[in-house]
């Protein structure tokens, strides 16, 4: 990855964070912390990695992305809008009366959303089904699933992890936004996932970790997918919840709930 590309991706991440901030302020909405924490992951995938064409959102050869952590929809909406899937002015209606964009993603609301999500633990099984279809049909596209760390509490995540490994779904890539904060506490205090990578490996996956805010780090791991022949890949992306949002909520439970104040908004847009 050259410096010019890196600069552009960083610039894009800035724009996405501003969009998230504005949506959160307009709708006085919760669920911003996990939107901020996955910005670089999504920018890297949508602006660099994935084989997609915003003009053909249902093209059969596209890479699929299942955004399982549906509550962090603001990040996906901003990405899709800025990538050209729909008019960015629609972002202004996020969670507002008559707007197109609900607090959790809905397929069909705007182009580019592969599946509706919002209830945790649904995304991986669906992505597994898509990857299974791709494998059976000998397609070359990849299926990405973005999971939160919190939803690794859900049984369905591990059920479908067993299934994916058993069927050798090498075309499946899970990226976990490991910001270490779930709904109402730190992951280590609520339900610890440690040793996280070892859990996935023991389920038959090839696991790597990276700095989820560094494009170079993301690029380094994504360049060697599949990590191991015949195995699904999981990337544990170490991130910071609330990164780039209002500073007092960074790495705090409050980043999940507290919308920006008028003062914060005026300070930021000025």
């Amino acid at each position: 990855m050259n410096d010019e590309t890196l600069r552009k991706l960083k610039e894009q991440a800035k724009i996405i964070r501003s969009d998230i901030f504005r949506m959160a302020y307009r709708a006085q909405s919760a669920h911003s912390g996990g939107a901020y924490s996955c910005v670089e992951i999504l920018v890297y995938l949508y602006f660099y990695r994935m084989r997609i064409d915003p003009k053909k959102p249902l093209d059969l050869s596209r890479d699929r992305l299942v955004f399982s952590k549906g509550h962090d929809a603001k990040a996906l909406y901003a990405i899709l809008a800025r990538r050209g899937f729909f008019d960015p002015s629609l972002l202004d209606g996020y969670e507002l009366d008559g707007g197109a964009l609900a607090g959790h993603t809905t397929r069909g609301a705007v182009p580019g959303i592969e599946v509706s999500s919002g209830s945790l633990g649904h995304g991986l099984p669906i992505a597994v089904g898509m990857a299974l279809a791709g494998k059976k049909q000998r397609k070359t596209h990849a299926v990405y699933a973005i999971l939160s760390d919190g939803e690794c509490d859900e049984g369905t995540t591990w059920e479908s992890a067993l299934f994916a490994a058993h069927h050798g779904l090498e075309n499946l890539v899970v990226i976990i936004d490991y910001n270490r904060l779930q709904g109402y506490g730190y992951v280590d205090d609520v339900i610890s996932l440690k040793p996280f990578g070892a859990k996935w490996r023991s389920f038959g996956w090839a696991a790597r970790s990276c700095n989820g805010h560094s494009f170079r780090s993301l690029h380094r791991v994504c360049s060697i997918i599949p990590f191991q022949k015949g195995k699904p890949s999981v990337i544990i992306a170490n991130t910071i919840k609330g990164k780039g949002g209002p500073p007092q909520h960074v790495n705090q439970v409050s980043s999940q709930y507290v919308p920006p104040t008028k003062e914060e908004y005026e300070k930021r847009v000025r």
């Binding site: 397929r107 649904h122 099984p125 669906i126 597994v128 089904g129 898509m130 067993l162």
Partner: protein
């Protein structure tokens, strides 16, 4: 009924390679031929009904027509949110097949009985609900369900149900098995044999019943219901399901919504005891869903209806 379903599924899957059978680790003596003849369209997902439902959604997004199979509580209740969010809201062409309607698994006990599924499934958007009463209906409805746009729930009995159907079966249309001038009996799912027996006993008392297998609960055959209101004196609904939520509720709701005042006797399970052990017919009887009890109540009600008219 289960075998009729399996046979037609195999026939259809041979013609349509997009059909994928996913089972939740069940199907002994049912799917062996399917596995042998169509190994690429068969998948034992293991015991993970919730994930199996999500995986079916993923396959359906990619152009497959998945069929998911298990015993009713595990394929409708364990995974109800996956059915709602992943399958029905997306309006995906997934055929959800549950075996063991009502007390079909009588001796197995509470965990395997299914008295709530129709009521629950009726709340899901875009979902057609089919509950065949005999093997012919099971066969014909499976065929039609596999050609339908959108999700379908197929509620099957188990095995050994007698065959009553003589006319063509059409999804969405009540299957009239016999006509009678006085009352209409609507039955759904595998309790059809009880409805037939009730009608036979009533005829001994010169009460003549039309018997309809209401194999399609959604979309409901309201034309036939209207016809019955015009031509009969009373309607009886019989189902091996909780009294609320199923066939009787559908009819009662229709009457309420259309301001129709008409004698309706709903037969179903009103008070469920999880401690009753025994065969299907024994457990049915213990819950008031047996021919003798139903016939007596119809006689009493019919006497009142015909004396007031």
């Amino acid at each position: 009924m289960r075998n009729a379903f399996a046979d037609v599924l195999r026939e259809e899957a041979k013609k349509d390679p997009s059909i994928m059978l996913l089972t939740g680790d069940l199907g002994y003596s049912v799917f062996e031929r399917f596995q042998e003849e169509l190994p690429n369209q068969y998948l034992n997902c293991g015991i993970m009904e919730q994930s199996m439902t999500g995986i079916a959604a993923g396959l359906a997004f990619e152009g497959y027509r998945p069929v998911i199979y298990s015993i009713i509580p595990f394929i409708t209740m364990r995974n109800i949110e996956q059915l709602r969010n992943d399958i029905c809201y997306h309006n995906l062409p997934v055929l959800i097949v549950g075996v063991g309607a009502g007390f079909s698994y009588g001796p197995y006990g509470y965990s395997h009985h299914s008295l709530e599924d129709i009521g629950m499934m009726r709340l899901l958007p875009n979902l057609a609900i089919l509950a065949p009463g005999d093997p012919v209906e099971a066969r014909e409805l499976t065929r039609q369900a596999l050609r339908r746009f959108g999700p379908v729930y197929l509620r099957l009995g188990k095995k050994g149900e007698p065959t009553y159907t003589t006319r063509p079966v059409e999804l969405g249309k009540g299957n009239i098995l016999q006509d009678g001038d006085d009352i209409a009996i609507f039955s759904t799912s595998s309790i059809l044999e009880v409805a037939i027996e009730v009608a036979r006993r009533l005829a001994d008392d010169h009460i003549y019943a039309m018997v309809v297998s209401m194999h399609t609960l959604v979309p409901f055959d309201t034309n036939l219901l209207e016809e019955v209101v015009k031509t009969k004196k009373m309607i009886v609904t019989i189902e091996e399901h909780a009294i609320n939520g199923g066939l009787g509720t559908i009819v009662a709701e229709y009457f309420a919504d259309h301001q129709i005042a008409f004698p309706l006797y709903r037969v179903g399970v009103r008070s469920y005891s999880s401690h009753i052990v025994g065969t299907q017919s024994y457990v049915r009887k213990a819950h008031g869903v047996s021919p003798a009890l139903i016939v007596e109540e119809i006689r009493n009600r019919y006497a009142r209806v015909s004396s007031s008219s």
